[in-house]
Symmetry: C2
Subunit: 226 residues, 2 copies
DNA sequence: TTTGATCAATTTGTGTACAACGTTGGCGGA
DNA sequence: TCCGCCAACGTTGTACACAAATTGATCAAA
């Protein structure tokens, strides 16, 4: 089978985090599309464990709103709910702006270098990247930029909102036949703008740039839908 | 034993929610003090179930940061972490302000009547309420006022933050020998102010009043600590 | 043909035995 | 007396068997 090697040295909590991150990633990349049914036993077998720890992971994903377990039916990847998506986007906007005001963390040289490398990879991706590559890249950038705030509950909340909105955005973008190539280019421009703001040490500007792009991205999606 | 009667008509999810709310309530009321060890088997027996559903509840509480399970040790009610508390308070301030801007829900007559009754009960509590009564009352008011925003993820986030900060506040307030009677009176004043703002339909004002009081409450606590 | 009930198959939820792990107290030796 | 070892105990984590619930197929009757 597609046995994922379990690391025996990892602690229980590490294994839980790894499983949670991996399945969340698959959901976000649409490997598990909205509405798809996940099998507890299949997942457990794939990761070389039993149902119990896997159920622990799925329960957490259910609390986060990414899946929904129904007795006798299965564990379903939650589907798009436009009304909920709009609320999540609005809240994400405001929280993103807050990252510039609540415990901002001034980036060090290593951080700036990491981001520069990311942006370079992004330029390449604009040319020959698939939607899946693009989303994976987007996730990576998000995780890096999240480090710019030292407020942990803010980080957690933003992370939850990000994963809950991103995959629905991708689904809707494909469905509405949004010009993904154009979206890539806009994202790359955003990163360039963020780099400039970062090098001048203006974290509030970084936050507002992100806020503006999240807002515009959602507007484009809504306009295309109508 | 202290068998809590299980409702056979309730669905699985209802039972889970009930258990979660009850244990969270006990933690917030300091029935389970920070550092205290909870027994899975004891809780399971008390609520007339087995360890499995109880572990599902405790896992959720752990994800919410209210307890921490350690293999071979026990499930401990998380203790106060002043640095984390400060971050949570700051975020709570901003999110509380947001309730006035994100999907505000104009209260109907029933809501206003409910609140008036609450305020009346609050006046009585100022005279002869124990700290435990006061906290229970505070929780009730919080849940009611939360209905003033229609933004569900905002509600959820605020709820998490509220329960995570409130119990630590109570612990610290007792420890720092804060004048709880004075705190009761101030809270009652806050409610009067909120009523006025509500009757004039100014939800943004309601949000700012709450924000101001949360901020001042934390300031008083910090000043008393030093 | 349609409709209805019934049954088998599949899935999640629960209970329980056992493994893994950390703590604590006692015991022995220096 | 003090230190270190270790064994017994209690707790959480895992695995698995079974219960509960839903779905879909199948078949008989209208």
């Amino acid at each position: 089978m597609g046995d994922t090697t379990p690391d025996p040295s990892a602690t229980v909590r590490d294994r839980h985090e790894a499983l949670h991150a991996e399945i969340r990633r698959r959901i976000c990349l649409l490997d598990y599309a909205p509405g798809q049914r996940l099998s507890e036993v299949a997942l457990a077998e794939e990761f070389g464990t039993s149902r119990t720890p896997m159920r622990r992971v799925l329960a957490r994903l259910e609390d986060e709103g990414l899946v929904q377990s129904l007795h006798g039916v299965g564990t379903l990847v939650t589907d798009a709910d436009i009304a909920a998506l709009e609320q999540e986007y609005h809240l994400r906007l405001e929280l993103t702006e807050l990252t510039g005001r609540l415990d901002p963390v001034m980036p060090d040289a290593v951080f700036l270098a990491t981001l520069d490398q990311l942006i370079a990879r992004g330029a390449q991706m604009v040319r020959d990247g698939t939607p899946r590559d693009f989303t994976a890249f987007d996730m990576e950038v998000f995780q890096v930029l999240l480090q710019l705030t030292g407020n942990l509950p803010l980080r957690d909340t933003l992370e939850r909102l990000y994963y809950k909105t991103k995959r629905i955005w991708l689904t809707a973008a494909i469905e509405a036949q949004l010009d993904l190539q154009a979206e890539f280019r806009i994202f790359h421009h955003e990163l360039e703008a963020i780099r400039i703001a970062l090098h001048s040490g203006d974290l509030d500007a970084v936050a507002h740039i992100q806020r503006a792009h999240i807002s515009m991205s959602f507007q484009r999606l809504r306009k295309q839908r109508d």
